[in-house]
């Protein structure tokens, strides 16, 4: 495999963006990532985005997204109807073929335009589940219910995750749900989707994120301390909630194993947990010890621009590696009801 590194990253986040449309969110994200990498648009070989038409209420959202990326002369370009973390995966594959040496990846979505939790109902079995309209929060609450009962954990542990995330988010300029709050204070708040409270649920967030990756020689030219993708793997579970062991995430474990999470020390992990219990499930599924710093950015509980959230996890870990704060970290992305599909990425600096 060719060595590929993250050399540029930028995000543009807004709680409920009233001014800019999707294209106007992507423009500064793409330009920010290019500037971060110190690379010209024309020097980037491959372009790919991740988005979801249903967030914007009409087909072909990604087509106008291309206006923000700049696509003339014509570009080698692709799009996945997936979180942009999977766009990163496709870009990594394209680089592995030897056809291209660098890539621009971006993801975007405005969850505030419609009812995100209701839209995601339409990810479920269209014959027997979607017609009952369980929201994505209802489905997550079912998983939380199974998880707590099976593990004997309490909702205090959920509140601990939520409180830590919200406090960590205070240091993240891109977070939209940040507060200096103690676990007890959260526990005093009402249960809205038993056993979940509002603070256990990722906030509605609009935004875009963009990333530049490149092979080693390009990366070393543009970046003092590139964050290399040592392993990037993804796996999927069957969707039927009754068909899965909801106390764990089988596909996350498979992806973590394949990506080599356990092959070295994990200093930091950014997990795409849209609900507090998902972080607990993922910590175990990925085999992360208690010494691992999880979601120093505040994670998805701090900001959740759907379709970019997974890519941002990778960007957050890469940024910490590039800054020299850590040497090796793990980033995770998920999509589908109750952590159905999971991507795990191990990032590392050479030294």
């Amino acid at each position: 495999m060719r060595d590929v590194a993250v050399i540029g990253f930028a995000q543009v986040i807004s709680a409920r963006e009233r001014e800019r449309n999707e294209v106007e969110l992507i423009i500064p994200a793409v330009r920010g990532a290019l500037a971060d990498a110190g690379i010209a648009r024309s020097e980037v070989d491959f372009t790919i985005s991740g988005s979801c038409d249903y967030l914007s209420g009409g087909p072909f959202t990604f087509v106008s997204g291309l206006d923000a990326a700049g696509a003339w002369p014509p570009v080698k370009e692709s799009h996945v109807e997936m979180d942009a973390a999977w766009a990163l995966y496709e870009a990594w594959v394209a680089i592995q073929t030897g056809d291209v040496d660098s890539a621009l990846i971006y993801g975007f979505g405005k969850s505030s335009l419609g009812d995100l939790h209701e839209i995601m109902t339409l990810q479920t079995d269209p014959y027997t589940v979607a017609p009952l309209w369980p929201s994505m929060v209802d489905l997550a609450a079912l998983q939380a219910s199974v998880f707590l009962a099976a593990t004997g954990r309490s909702d205090a542990e959920l509140a601990a995750v939520a409180a830590r995330s919200r406090r960590a988010a205070l240091a993240n300029p891109y977070a939209v749900a940040a507060e200096d709050v103690a676990e007890d204070a959260l526990l005093a708040r009402p249960v809205t989707h038993a056993p979940l409270r509002d603070a256990d649920i990722a906030p509605i967030t609009d935004g875009a994120a963009a990333m530049i990756i490149a092979v080693r020689d390009v990366a070393e030219r543009h970046c003092e301390r590139p964050a290399y993708l040592r392993g990037i793997e993804h796996r999927v579970d069957p969707q039927g909630l009754g068909l899965r062991d909801l106390t764990t995430s089988t596909s996350a474990t498979l992806a973590a194993h394949a990506a080599g999470v356990a092959d070295g020390p994990v200093e930091v992990a950014e997990l795409h947990a849209q609900f507090s219990h998902e972080e607990l499930i993922l910590r175990e599924a990925l085999g992360l010890g208690d010494d691992v710093e999880v979601n120093p950015s505040g994670g998805a509980l701090g900001a959740n621009p759907v379709m970019a959230t997974g890519l941002i996890r990778i960007g957050e870990v890469a940024t910490r590696i590039r800054s020299g704060a850590v040497r090796r970290g793990v980033a995770h992305a998920a999509q589908g009801p109750c952590l159905q599909q999971n991507l795990v990425c191990v990032l590392e600096a050479d030294r």
């Binding site: 249903y54 087909p59 056809d99 039927g240």
Partner: protein
């Protein structure tokens, strides 16, 4: 091109019809996948990864339906990707799947593209009216017909050229049991007398709306050595995109298409596509797009595409048959249509195209797809022989 030589080792597709009332979405994609796996002598369990493609989710009213379809396609515990690049998606999906093998990441990849348009209505799905956007009141034909008029003005083509393509592709479809449209009485008069929809396009100049799925199994050189049937080697793949609208954009003969073709030809060592290919499966959803793409893809000089069509060169018995399967004009499950082109090209070089088979001289064929406002292109070249 990647370092691992890669082949199409299995091809399967559903029959394409206006409405497959007998199957679920899972049943539809499994029908194609099963046929492709059988062709490759494999079962779902033999596959390393699954790549799914389709056009907008609003056709079926399922958000990211690959999530619901994951276990139906045997992806449980495996990597699964979902591609969406508008009309070119079937081609792009096959290319993404091929790259997984070329890059040495996987040995056997199943890729499936589908559309079940009868769950809603394609015209509705393509033209959902959004606030603030000038509504596309005239549908897809209203978008493309003006470009066809511009082509006619530019090339001086006589008005019957499109009708010739409409007849030729439907006659080819009569040989293809999987094709949606079987119009035994099709002739020039029938096309000329069909309803004028978007002048200059008549009803029979346009593609149908279909339910259908296409599946391919892609394998490495090692895998290709073990499968029962002949394989189609991938000699080149390319994708290009350009923005929908900018100053001076040539929408009739888009540069992205020309450069995509130049790229894939260079990989395959093709210098004269008319001579170097035995046939081409090209995304022609409106009849006039045959002469337009003949020029865009370099099968002739600018302005000469209609002459090639008129001469019969692109007919099944011509020197460079285009769409021997009947093409998009005969079957159009939108998300699958590009992969059908790619798969039919593979079937030709495998000698598996049945009654649509063309004689093999060079043993090479082109698969092509495009989408959006003629702005997304994906192409591959397949051959009977190992690539150089």
């Amino acid at each position: 091109m990647g370092s691992v030589r890669t082949a199409v080792v299995g091809v399967g597709q559903t029959r394409h019809v206006a409405a497959r009332h007998d199957v679920s979405m899972a049943g539809l994609v499994r029908e194609a996948a099963r046929e492709a796996l059988d062709d490759a002598g494999m079962d779902f369990g033999d596959v390393d990864a699954v790549v799914i493609g389709k056009a907008p989710d609003m056709f079926e009213g399922v958000v990211m339906p690959e999530l619901y379809l994951a276990d139906a396609l045997g992806a449980t515990g495996k990597p699964m990707l979902r591609v969406h690049t508008a009309g070119s998606v079937g081609g792009s999906t096959a290319i993404v799947a091929a790259k997984l093998v070329m890059a040495g990441i996987h040995e056997r990849v199943l890729t499936v593209a589908f559309e079940k348009q009868s769950e809603s209505n394609a015209t509705w799905g393509l033209t959902v009216e959004m606030p603030f956007s000038a509504p596309l009141v005239a549908g897809a034909g209203g978008y493309f017909a003006p470009l066809i008029r511009a082509y006619i003005r530019r090339s001086g083509a006589p008005s019957h050229i499109g009708h010739l393509v409409a007849v030729k592709d439907r006659r080819n479809a009569l040989r293809n049991p999987k094709a949606h449209l079987h119009l035994p009485d099709i002739d020039l008069k029938a096309v000329e007398e069909s309803f004028l929809l978007w002048e200059p396009l008549r009803y029979l100049d346009t593609c149908p709306s279909s339910d259908g799925a296409m599946a391919l199994v892609l394998g490495s050189e090692d895998v290709a050595a073990t499968v029962p049937g002949p394989v189609a080697w991938i000699h080149g793949t390319a994708m290009r995109s350009e923005p929908t609208m900018f100053a001076g954009r040539d929408q009739v003969n888009p540069r992205a298409g020309r450069e995509c073709a130049a790229d894939v030809y260079a990989q395959a060592g093709v210098t004269d596509p008319r001579r170097d290919f035995d046939c081409a499966e090209v995304y022609v959803p409106f009849s006039w797009y045959e002469p337009m793409w003949l020029e865009n893809l370099g099968f002739c000089a600018q302005g000469e595409g209609w002459k090639l069509t008129e001469s019969g060169a692109t007919a099944l018995d011509g020197d460079i048959p285009w769409n021997p399967s009947g093409g998009v004009l005969s079957s159009n499950p939108i998300g699958a249509s590009g992969m059908i082109r790619f798969g039919e090209a593979a079937q030709q070089v495998r000698g598996r195209a049945g009654d649509c088979q063309v004689p093999l001289h060079t043993g090479r064929a082109l698969g092509h797809a495009y989408g959006g406002g003629s702005q997304f292109f994906s192409m591959w070249v397949v051959g009977a022989e190992l690539p150089a």
